[in-house]
Symmetry: C2
Subunit: 350 residues, 2 copies
């Protein structure tokens, strides 16, 4: 991407009038709908600039610093292209490196206290439609979540689950009933109903951002971890929505729904602990009030998963946890997106 | 800061050998203890670079992009200085603009479910001592908070309250007992005990980051909002720890502890709604599972504070809330940093 930006700007700079290039770039940005806020400020600046053959470097510094600081959502690669069309700053050396990804993401963590479940809302604010996804919505908090989505002017496109939950009923089906067009997502391995089935390596796009699917079975057979994309346009640091595979200083139980401590150990070590250490870990639950951790932190401090596999298995076999009180209601319901009463109808929404 | 960076580098570039400047800058960074992670990678790169009079631009691009992406905490102004000492990239135009502030902050939101209280942990990771502050710690979760601080290798320097809480006992006194050297902070207007009293305009430094104090009375007479600093070295967007002055889609009650709906309305409108709209709002409580909002969002969607003052007052006068069950225990205790049993001893810790 950078080399393209540079080459394009470089070519234009040689062959065309600067003002023409500036206008052309602005036009092309508008067409591509990647033009963030602050465009008018920049345009005014550029137009005044175009007629000045040798703007002073301190001025450019000061403007750019101020501009980026006040417009954190502005795509830096555009700023780069636009600056590159002016010979004076080029001669004195202006190239901007930036991170579109980190500020275009809208991110909200939401808590359902009865089952201590976290629901996550992610949206691409730089996309004109502000497409959004909900990860692990809970039936009881669907109205709260949809009201927030409305307040923020987002367009929900996917309601997705990390796995078939045993402790609460998913909000997926209810959401589909309330907002037609929303598609439900779950892993193929979960053997549940959904509009879209995903497996390891799949990418789920919302606008220009995406979540990557990693297969992390062990708590259930169909558990997946959704990880924000790797790349300069994606959020940095990365964020991993680990479901019950990895909890903060803990992990999901492995004694039902096809669980396996051997498989969970392998999943976490091969699929989560191999992510960059600063990757943010956002689990499906926390019972002690933690909201987030990092891969590096769990690799050092997780009391279960820092052990060797045999010790881990021994821990998991001796947890002596009670039978989950919601499991007989939640699991059958969650196999059909939370709408147990609709089993047999075989119609939408699933 | 930018002009200094540039001028210094420019002078050195003219008068000295590039390698000398590189070494000197590295040395000065070490002395100033502002040298983040990734230094060895960069050093190796620079040393190899010094002996190459004309490194290729695509290589610099590719390296820089990769380097910054993998080392988000590295102070960009240093990278700028270091690159500036090489004539080749200068000639071809390399200047890096970056944001130290956004990645040097470690931030954690912690929840205490009984009183639905949020405690906030902030630390300056770029400072060698990783100094940290806790905002609104709760007595019941002190052990959790201190264990997290230990896991993360932080040095807690301040335990601060936004106000004298009526619904839970502060953890400040307990923390001071467990970690000698930690200082308690509260507003002067609260008439409580603490090591440090703050008022509007004060800055509370932890490393090179700071919180700015804004006076936001109305829920209690001594309520303050702590806001992260305004400046290129500080987190962007800004973050406001509003206590009970502004809650997500709500606000604190105004019927006890010197509360006043007139004053609360004025506080929120003059001290919080005047912040940039993307400022993150982190309240002391949430009862519906929201974790964060923004100033812009509350200015548009807060069902109480979007009204005119008279309507707001009418709402606040007709809330008919029950007498807070913890108030008779919590308020006297919180006047002395949570250590009611120590009243009369008049000794540390307060």
């Amino acid at each position: 991407m950078w080399s393209w930006d540079f080459a394009t700007a470089h070519d234009f700079r040689r062959g065309r009038r600067r003002s023409e290039f500036a206008e052309r770039t602005i036009g092309s940005c508008r067409e591509n709908r990647r033009w963030g806020r602050g465009n008018e400020d920049l345009r005014r600046f550029l137009v005044s600039f175009t007629d000045d053959p040798s703007p002073s470097l301190p001025f450019i510094f000061s403007f750019t610093h101020h501009f980026i600081y006040k417009n954190p959502n502005f795509p830096f690669s555009l700023l780069l292209q636009l600056f590159l069309c002016f010979e004076a700053p080029i001669g004195n050396g202006i190239i901007l490196l930036g991170f579109e990804g980190s500020s275009r993401l809208l991110f909200r963590q939401l808590f359902e206290k009865e089952s201590a479940t976290y629901t996550y809302l992610l949206a691409d604010l730089a996309h004109p439609e502000k497409p959004a996804v909900l990860v692990d919505p809970v039936d009881k908090t669907v109205d709260r979540d949809l009201s927030l989505i409305k307040d923020l002017g987002l367009k929900l496109i996917y309601a997705m689950n990390t796995h078939v939950h045993a402790d609460h009923v998913t909000g997926t089906g209810l959401i589909k009933g309330k907002i037609p067009g929303v598609k439900s997502i779950i892993s193929k391995a979960s053997n549940s109903k959904a509009d879209v089935f995903v497996e390891a390596g799949d990418k789920i796009y919302f606008g220009d951002l995406f979540l990557e699917v990693r297969s992390t079975p062990g708590h259930t057979v169909g558990c997946v971890t959704y990880v924000t994309g790797d790349g300069p346009d994606q959020p940095c640091p990365r964020m991993a929505f680990t479901g019950d595979a990895l909890l903060i200083r803990g992990c999901g139980r492995t004694d039902f729904q096809g669980g396996s401590s051997h498989q969970l150990y392998k999943s976490v070590h091969s699929q989560i602990f191999t992510l960059p250490k600063d990757t943010l870990v956002y689990p499906a639950h926390d019972y002690r009030g933690f909201t987030v951790s990092t891969v590096g932190e769990e690799m050092l401090c997780n009391p279960r998963l820092t052990k060797d596999e045999e010790s881990f298995k021994a821990i998991m076999e001796n947890l002596n946890l009670p039978y989950p009180k919601m499991i007989d209601v939640a699991v059958p319901a969650n196999m059909v997106c939370g709408l147990q009463d609709l089993i047999g109808r075989q119609t939408e929404p699933v």
